[in-house]
């Protein structure tokens, strides 16, 4: 999944939808939207766009280095890192999804 985070440009989107090549610097594309929605499944507990509430008991994810986040979530998934909930949630995501979500949060402002 390629990330193109820029403004929505609907005519370009229409063209994209019928299979033409992407226009540069134009649209937030469908892939970026899907990635935002996937990452938003973390927001209930870690904050919108990964920005934790003040005094949070869990880490904010915005700006977290991708390699670190991937390592930690995979450790939750394998059971190597103990947890109350995250070991159960991490098992619901594929390694590819974990890597995509980590890349998304690494690119977010803290």
């Amino acid at each position: 999944m390629r990330l193109r985070l820029s403004a929505m440009l609907p005519l370009a989107a229409t063209v994209l939808a019928v299979g033409m090549p992407a226009l540069p610097a134009a649209a937030q594309d469908a892939g970026a939207l899907r990635l935002k929605a996937l990452a938003a499944t973390c927001a209930n507990c870690h904050g919108t766009q990964g920005r934790a509430v003040d005094g949070a008991a869990v880490p904010g994810l915005a700006g977290m280095p991708a390699a670190y986040m991937i390592e930690q979530v995979k450790a939750f998934k394998s059971g190597a890192r103990p947890a109350t909930v995250m070991h159960q949630l991490a098992k619901g995501y594929s390694d590819a999804q974990i890597e995509q979500v980590a890349a998304y949060f690494a690119a977010q402002k803290k």
Partner: protein
């Protein structure tokens, strides 16, 4: 590529409208796409915010909600236990407008015309929409228990299942009850809003009794065969922490109440008398969904296409939260409604932009239950859309429950509440 064909199958003539609307995105009203959200709970408020976020603020969003502020159902049992106040669990709607540009209208939708694609407000005005997001929560079917409607409207028998004034009133009834009294809660057959909620409530009331009125009793009268959520965990807490206070009785389907004598009648079992009666009647989709003809599952819940939560009864109306006919393993919870909302928001932004809707959406759920003022247990799950079966299923191997109540989870539970309120409303 199948994008266009898929889109047109999914939304028919709307494709043309959407393109017309989108062609002008960025050039301002009046030709912007218009999304109307009805109901500002965990589902609707989240959907309103995330349509704005996911569209980079390009899509107009109006939210119609009758209340001034959001009162959380999750953690509202702590108000009954006495460790939190109603103010602690209340968040105003103001930030949705200020931070995200959602137009918030304090009103109720009186009717919806799915053909003309307009909603009529109780105060009179009509609002046209390109996409309607309906998140009306639950309707309590008082007629399922004889005498309960009148007893509730007189304030004698409370539900407190829609958090707010009744939550405060029920706490007052508990405070007024003499030591040695009995609090009874009746639970309807599943599915109902918040599967573990009644059992958490029993813990909270028992926690209060144990400290303040130790000769009092909590009676759980459950229409279901057995505890429907976190059963072994709750039963252990009742047996150990609330021994002699909490009594659980399964297969007790309430059929009638008499508020004057404090009597509950059941389909089969003997009558029960109590000092404080907390009656949860059978539930169904919110009234506006029912009257719009969307409750096409057993005349109670709304069938949706789980890929975008569009009603199977009306095009361009997306239903989410507690009102829907649930997929296997999907609870009616605030967290789940917030999760639905993000899938709906992404699908609507994609449809309005002329993109293929995400073929593989994901949902999560985490439900925390306070067993006293500080200790908590949870159930968690992850759900993926399974295209072959056109439904969500829990991801194999994911999810689970706590080993037992801990203060650490108590801290996480309160953190969860503060964070999801912000994610939904701020």
């Amino acid at each position: 590529m199948m994008h266009r064909r898929h889109l047109l199958q999914g939304s028919g003539a709307f494709g043309l409208l959407a393109l017309a609307g989108c062609a002008n995105i960025g050039s301002g009203p009046p030709s912007k796409a218009r999304v109307l959200v009805v109901g500002g709970g965990y589902g609707g408020a989240t959907a309103a915010k995330y349509v704005r976020l996911f569209s980079d603020q390009k899509i107009d969003v109006t939210l119609v909600e009758p209340n001034d502020a959001f009162v959380s159902c999750p953690v509202s049992n702590l108000v009954l236990g006495g460790s939190k106040t109603i103010a602690d669990i209340t968040t105003p709607y103001t930030a949705l407008a200020k931070n995200h540009g959602v137009r918030v209208i304090k009103d109720t939708v009186a009717s919806i015309d799915p053909v003309k694609k307009v909603a009529v407000l109780a105060s009179g005005p009509t609002i046209a929409y390109d996409k309607l997001i309906l998140s009306p929560g639950i309707d309590l079917m008082w007629d399922s228990i004889a005498g309960s409607r009148a007893a509730n409207s007189e304030g004698r028998v409370l539900q407190a299942w829609k958090a707010g004034p009744e939550t405060v009133a029920l706490r007052r009834q508990l405070e007024a009850m003499p030591d040695g009294g009995v609090y009874a809660i009746t639970i309807p057959e599943a599915p109902y809003r918040c599967p573990p909620g009644p059992y958490e409530r029993a813990c909270q009331v028992a926690s209060y009794f144990k400290a303040a009125k130790p000769r009092s009793k909590v009676l759980i009268l459950d229409a279901n065969q057995d505890v429907t959520s976190k059963g072994p965990l709750f039963k252990k807490v009742w047996a150990e922490q609330y021994k002699g206070i909490v009594e659980y009785r399964g297969q007790h389907k309430a059929t009638a109440v008499d508020a004057k004598t404090g009597t509950i009648k059941f389909e089969i079992q003997d009558d029960v008398k109590a000092d404080v009666l907390n009656v949860l009647p059978t539930m169904r989709a919110g009234q506006i969904a029912v009257q719009t003809g969307l409750a096409n599952a057993n005349a109670r819940w709304c069938n949706v296409n789980y890929l975008n939560f569009e009603s199977t009864a009306a095009k361009d109306i997306h239903v989410l939260g507690d009102s829907i006919q649930i997929a296997p393993g999907m609870p009616k919870s605030g967290h789940m409604a917030n999760s639905h909302a993000k899938v709906v928001a992404a699908a609507i932004v994609a449809e309005l932009a002329g993109w293929e809707v995400n073929p593989a959406p994901m949902l999560t759920n985490t439900c925390y239950s306070f067993t006293d003022a500080r200790n908590v247990i949870h159930v968690a799950s992850v759900h993926e859309y399974v295209a072959a079966e056109k439904t969500f299923k829990t991801v194999a191997g994911s999810g689970g429950v706590s080993a037992g109540p801990t203060e650490q989870e108590g801290a996480y539970a309160w953190n969860w509440a503060r964070t999801i309120w912000a994610d939904t409303l701020i």
